[in-house]
């Protein structure tokens, strides 16, 4: 038995493991084509739901505020999470610090629908991420490249998102990470079978997962995008580059008209291939979040380098 009372992965019969995995990945499947929005109050959560969010991320501070205020960023107050759960019928996600499996156990006890083991919070463990197989609640984790994505999936993540650079409103890092993941998957897919172990070594990724990508040409779990998405066009860009859904953090509630921007990003994500729709929804949204150029950030201010 693991510390949180769930049987460890190896102790379960294969069929039970397969069913548990199907439920975790299944919820991510239901979120595809949708927008997951960061919210800090029950009122924000209701605005997000009314605007068409497929889920909300319950937080005490959006990443842009974590950036300016500094200090250690931790899991949100359980009372705030509960108030947000009571306010909406859509799934509620919450973040734990990288490696902080006790925060994760608390979030599971609160029955949040998904846990984001997130680099936006201050990491709690310099070496290890959470063993996500030990939990019944599914996890999403950030990744900058294929190796990082497969390591997180190896630990039990049922959804991957690009890290991007949260709280900047600058989409360049999300683009960099999505393009890296997609081009590395193409490389694995087109490799000869006898080259896969060397690729697993190069990417520092589990061999069996590299073999799976070789067969299917895609990640074994849904691949979403996050980190710097601020406009309907940003959301559609990420979808065109291969994202299956988007997370929008500071981009909505740090903008001039959150409700209209939220609705516009929802519609842009659903109709990402229809430029006529994108042109219509992009108009008259008021001020976007001010934003920070990622290229002007000192390395110690970058969140994406947290975790490995």
């Amino acid at each position: 038995m693991s510390t949180n009372g769930h049987p460890t992965n190896g102790a379960q019969p294969v069929e039970t493991q397969k069913a548990a995995w199907r439920l975790k990945v299944g919820l991510a499947e239901m979120l595809k084509g949708g927008v997951i929005m960061d919210v800090v109050t029950p009122e924000h959560a209701k605005i997000a739901e009314r605007a068409g969010a497929v889920a909300v991320m319950a937080l005490e501070r959006v990443p842009a505020d974590i950036r300016t205020q500094g200090g250690v960023a931790r899991m949100s107050d359980p009372n705030l999470i509960k108030a947000i759960q009571d306010a909406v019928t859509i799934p509620v996600m919450a973040k734990c610090r990288i490696g902080h499996f006790v925060e994760a156990e608390i979030l599971e006890a609160l029955e949040v629908d998904y846990i984001d083991e997130s680099e936006v919070l201050t990491p709690a463990d310099p070496w290890h991420h959470v063993n996500k197989h030990a939990f019944k609640v599914p996890f999403v984790c950030g990744a900058r490249n294929l190796g990082e994505a497969l390591r997180r999936i190896g630990e039990g993540a049922a959804m991957i998102r690009t890290k991007g650079e949260a709280g900047t409103g600058d989409v360049i890092e999300a683009v960099r990470h999505m393009r890296s993941i997609v081009s590395e998957m193409k490389r694995v897919q087109s490799a000869r079978e006898d080259e896969l172990m060397a690729l697993a070594k190069e990417f520092a990724a589990p061999y069996d997962l590299v073999c799976e990508v070789h067969k299917t040409g895609r990640l074994p779990v849904p691949n979403f995008s996050a980190g710097g998405i601020a406009t309907p066009a940003d959301a559609a860009l990420m979808m065109k580059l291969g994202a299956e859904a988007v997370f929008v953090g500071s981009g909505i509630f740090k903008s001039g008209d959150p409700e209209r921007r939220a609705e516009a990003i929802v519609e842009a994500t659903a109709h990402f291939e229809d430029a006529t729709v994108l042109a219509r929804v992009s108009g008259g949204l008021g001020e976007p979040m001010v934003g920070i150029n990622v290229s002007s950030l000192a390395e110690e201010d970058q969140l994406a380098v947290r975790g490995w």
Binding site: A19, R22, L23, G26, L27, E29, M30, L31, K32, G33, G34, E49, R50, A51, G52, A53, V54, A55, Q85, T89, I90, P91, V92, E108, E111, V112, D113, Y114, K136, V137, P138, E263, V266, E267, A270, H271, D274
Partner: protein
């Protein structure tokens, strides 16, 4: 000519339904705008979020186009969110639906994600149980006189049929068992 089956593709696990339909030898067609419905002989409404879809369906008039085709006899099948969207009534909420099936829905009837489950259940007309995957699933709490219950879990109705309309609270598209997809195709008739 293979049958052309529309799959509502604005949000949710529509790609899995497209793959399942193709595996059954029919031709899936993604439906995002009212004009995409032309040429579709039936429609699948996938799993996803019903509040999100309620908004997206209305923005381009796809809600009216679907309701009109179904009133003219087009077969339709909703899984989980899809069944919620097809219901005439949703408990405790004034929620937009297409109002096609004469049923009342209770959303998230089993609770949040940690209570999602998979169970082999008997389905009317199937010789062996079906692996039913319930994810934040709804149940049917009331059925009108023309609605037939096809499956139950702990006495709760989780699959219904009304003429050529089908609703399931679970997700056959998440498994490799194609019997519900084949059953849906059998409703198309000559």
């Amino acid at each position: 000519m293979p049958r052309v089956v529309g799959v509502l593709s604005l949000q949710g696990d529509f790609q899995l339904h497209c793959d399942a339909i193709a595996a059954c030898g029919a031709e899936p067609r993604q439906v995002r705008m009212p004009e995409d419905l032309a040429g579709c002989e039936g429609l699948i409404l996938p799993g996803g979020e019903s509040t999100t879809l309620g908004i997206l369906l209305r923005r381009h008039g796809l809600d009216q186009a679907i309701a009109e085709r179904c009133r003219d006899g087009m077969p339709a099948w909703g899984t989980c969110m899809g069944m919620i969207l097809m219901a005439q009534r949703v408990e405790g909420r004034d929620q937009f639906t297409l109002s096609l099936l004469d049923i009342t829905i209770r959303r998230n009837a089993f609770g949040p994600q940690v209570h999602s489950f998979e169970q082999e259940i008997p389905v009317k007309g199937f010789v062996s149980p079906f692996p039913a995957v319930f994810i934040r699933a709804p149940i049917v709490t009331e059925c009108g006189p023309e609605v037939e219950s096809l499956a139950e879990v702990e006495g709760k109705v989780v699959a219904v049929r009304q003429g050529r309309l089908l609703g399931t609270a679970f997700h056959p598209e998440l498994t490799a068992d194609r019997r519900v997809h084949e059953y849906f195709l059998s409703l198309f008739g000559g």
